[in-house]
């Protein structure tokens, strides 16, 4: 006989350990509910594609921040890096007349170099990643602004715009990139020995070292990958809007952290999944959309997100204490 207390705790345990699944179920329930109540406005294909499209602009940052958080670090320069990538790409195509493919490659290399700098500062100079990346983020943004002039738009290569604006079966390309990226990274982080190292480092750096993991090397590489993802995100956004301007939603990194933590990624490191973070982002997106359609003041959405964030972490704390 399972008594009530045990039942309750296993429910909370489920939410904590199987976060991606729990959120997915919650999202499905909310979607079904709202589709039933608002069939013409919420429950339509186009509405869902808009939800996904809006999610796609910052999803790369969500993935990047997830892999950094799992290791027990944080990267506040991702937003600036993203903008730098977009602007450099645009500038190279317009001012330097570079073919699209070269512009993209060079921009990504620069973004990765930025990530490399972050990695050096954190892993070799022992700087706390929060403030270190805050500083580098400022510098990257400064350079992005200098390179941006009045903004780059109307790119010469029509393929560039097409890559961002074409719709396949009603779904715009960025959504497809998002899904591909999520599948790739969810797979990598859950199933490759290389990426699993992040969990060992995040949970217990000393033990990880004893298991033969080269901490510095892995940390630096992580920041490089994060930088690359940020750059990709920036370029996709430029493709989508056919414009590159240094107007990054201030605090995109913190929004990404919010999505990740709601999705079960621990701020202290060592746990969480890409799938979970993606579900966290999707949950916020769906809920916002649903509440807007339900005529709830859209202004209150951040507050609701804030409450959900705090609730999620309290649940995790309760479950952790129970395990002890």
């Amino acid at each position: 006989m399972i008594n009530k207390a045990e039942k309750k705790s296993s429910f909370l345990s489920f939410i904590s350990t199987q976060r991606a699944l729990a959120l997915f179920i919650l999202i499905t329930i909310i979607s079904l509910l709202f589709s039933f109540v608002f069939p013409t406005t919420f429950g339509t294909f186009s509405n869902f594609s808009i939800i996904l499209l809006n999610m796609s602009s910052e999803i790369m940052i969500v993935i990047a921040i997830t892999i950094v958080l799992i290791q027990g670090e944080i990267d506040l320069s991702l937003g600036s890096n993203m903008v730098l990538g977009a602007i450099l790409c645009g500038r190279l195509m317009i001012v330097n007349d570079l073919p699209m493919i070269f512009a993209i490659i060079i921009s990504l290399i620069v973004c990765m170099a930025c990530g490399f700098i972050n990695g050096l500062i954190v892993a070799k100079l022992n700087v706390v990643s929060f403030i270190g990346t805050l500083a580098t983020g400022m510098i990257f943004l400064g350079f992005a602004v200098i390179l941006s002039g009045t903004g780059w738009t109307d790119f010469p290569d029509k393929l560039f715009k097409a890559l961002g604006q074409t719709k396949i079966m009603g779904i715009q390309m960025p959504v497809i990139y998002m899904i591909v990226a999520l599948i790739i990274f969810a797979f990598l982080v859950s199933s490759t020995r290389y990426f699993r190292q992040y969990y060992y480092i995040g949970a217990n750096q000393k033990a990880a070292k004893l298991s033969g993991i080269n901490i510095s090397k892995v940390k630096i590489t992580t920041f490089v990958i994060a930088g690359c993802l940020a750059g990709i995100g920036g370029i996709i956004t430029a493709m989508r809007f056919n414009t590159a301007i240094p107007n990054v939603g201030a605090g995109v990194e913190l929004r990404a952290v919010t999505a990740a933590v709601i999705g079960g990624v621990s701020f202290a490191g060592g746990s969480g999944t890409v799938a979970g973070a993606a579900m966290g982002a999707l949950f916020i997106a769906v809920l916002s959309n649903a509440l807007t359609i339900a005529k709830l003041p859209p202004d209150l959405q951040p507050s609701i997100t804030g409450v959900i964030l705090i609730t999620a972490i309290i649940i995790d704390i309760i479950v952790t204490k129970k395990n002890k």
Binding site: V127, V128, I139, A250, G251, D299, S303
Partner: protein, 347 residues
């Protein structure tokens, strides 16, 4: 000059050879990182007085510089305290926005100024207390707890703003607040606007308190080692809760002053301020790891940031240089902070 003599006094018993004194200087700077922003500020004042005397030394420039400094400086007090005791408060910017709009709305609805101020301060304290309890008793990480709280503030702000905008259509205009209220912020005394004086009083008061008061000294211990503090009889949980109340309180003071200045029309004024304030603190020598730094240093850090903007503006330099310079100074400061643990003497 004073600084050089200070430096040589610390040089007890060491040989004065060339390489050694360079190391000692780095030692000194690492120990007293507020020197960095101070040097910048002094260089700035001297250079610009010579190169742009008419613009720089004009009373308009000086008073607007001090005014721009004064309101964020009040927030620095709360943030410096948070960082010193090993926590962080990311809700500060949103707090400013929220209290701004709250104050404006209350005034417009006819609540007397005195009561408005009291209500806003009390609400801020209560919300700060809730966050403080989440962190100190439930164990939520302060980063996440204040991030969440910030989002809650943000939403509430937007909501109140939109609702009041709707109300304003019916004759009540939140953008133009009664003069009795705006005088709080716009009033002048001896050529300087009032917020400068409020800030000066608070800054001096709290710099002295942090340096001398027994109560505030304990925060340094907490920031250094929570468990050792607890075992030394320091009430860690209570004290941590209070820091959140204080940082919320200071943010709300700033919010009220902004409301008084701009008639609550700037609903997004305050975005990103938490990072701005944290940067100022770290440049001024407050360590992200806790237990180290001074209020005076944090204040100098903020002054440095304002002077930098001012400097670039006067020189017609591209404003995007600001980010790069500030980012580099911050980076330099944190790298120095990371290396600082290798130094032997605390002084």
């Amino acid at each position: 000059m004073k600084i050089l003599s200070k430096f040589s006094m610390k040089n007890e018993g060491n040989s004065k050879s060339g390489t050694n004194s360079k190391r000692d200087m780095l030692d000194y700077i690492a120990k007293n990182r507020w020197v960095i922003p101070l040097v910048f500020i002094m260089v700035y004042f001297i250079t610009y007085s010579i190169v742009f005397p008419k613009v720089f030394l004009s009373s308009y420039n000086i008073s607007s510089l001090l005014l721009e400094f004064s309101i964020p400086a009040i927030i620095v007090i709360g943030m410096a305290l948070q960082l010193i005791n090993g926590e962080i408060d990311l809700s500060v910017g949103f707090n400013v926005m929220f209290t701004n709009i709250l104050a404006g709305t209350l005034i417009v609805l006819g609540v007397p100024m005195g009561w408005t101020i009291i209500i806003v301060l009390v609400v801020a304290c209560v919300l700060g207390f809730i966050v403080g309890t989440l962190v100190s008793r439930i164990g939520v990480n302060s980063f996440i707890a204040t991030l969440g709280m910030g989002l809650i503030y943000y939403g509430l702000t937007q909501f109140v703003y939109t609702s009041s905008y709707n109300i304003s259509r019916n004759g009540i205009d939140i953008r133009h607040l009664p003069e009795t209220f705006t005088k709080l912020s716009k009033g002048e005394f001896l050529g300087l606007q009032l917020p400068v004086y409020y800030a000066a009083v608070l800054l001096i008061l709290f710099s002295i308190l942090m340096a001398k008061s027994r109560y505030f000294k304990k925060y340094y211990y907490i920031g250094m080692n929570v468990e050792a503090s607890r075992l030394s009889g320091i009430s860690v949980k209570n004290m941590k809760t209070i820091t959140f109340v204080l940082s919320s309180l200071f943010a709300s003071v700033a919010g009220i002053l902004i409301a008084a200045r701009m008639g609550a029309s700037a609903a997004t004024y305050g975005t990103g301020w938490e990072l701005k304030v944290i940067t100022a603190c770290v440049i001024g020598g407050v360590s992200m790891k806790g237990g180290r730094g001074t209020m005076g240093g944090a204040v100098l850090g903020m002054l440095f940031a304002i002077c930098l903007t001012n400097a670039l503006r006067i020189a017609y330099a591209p404003s995007n240089l600001y980010k790069i310079i500030e980012g580099s100074v911050l980076l330099g400061a944190v790298i120095l902070d990371a290396q600082m643990s290798k130094r032997k003497v605390v002084g």
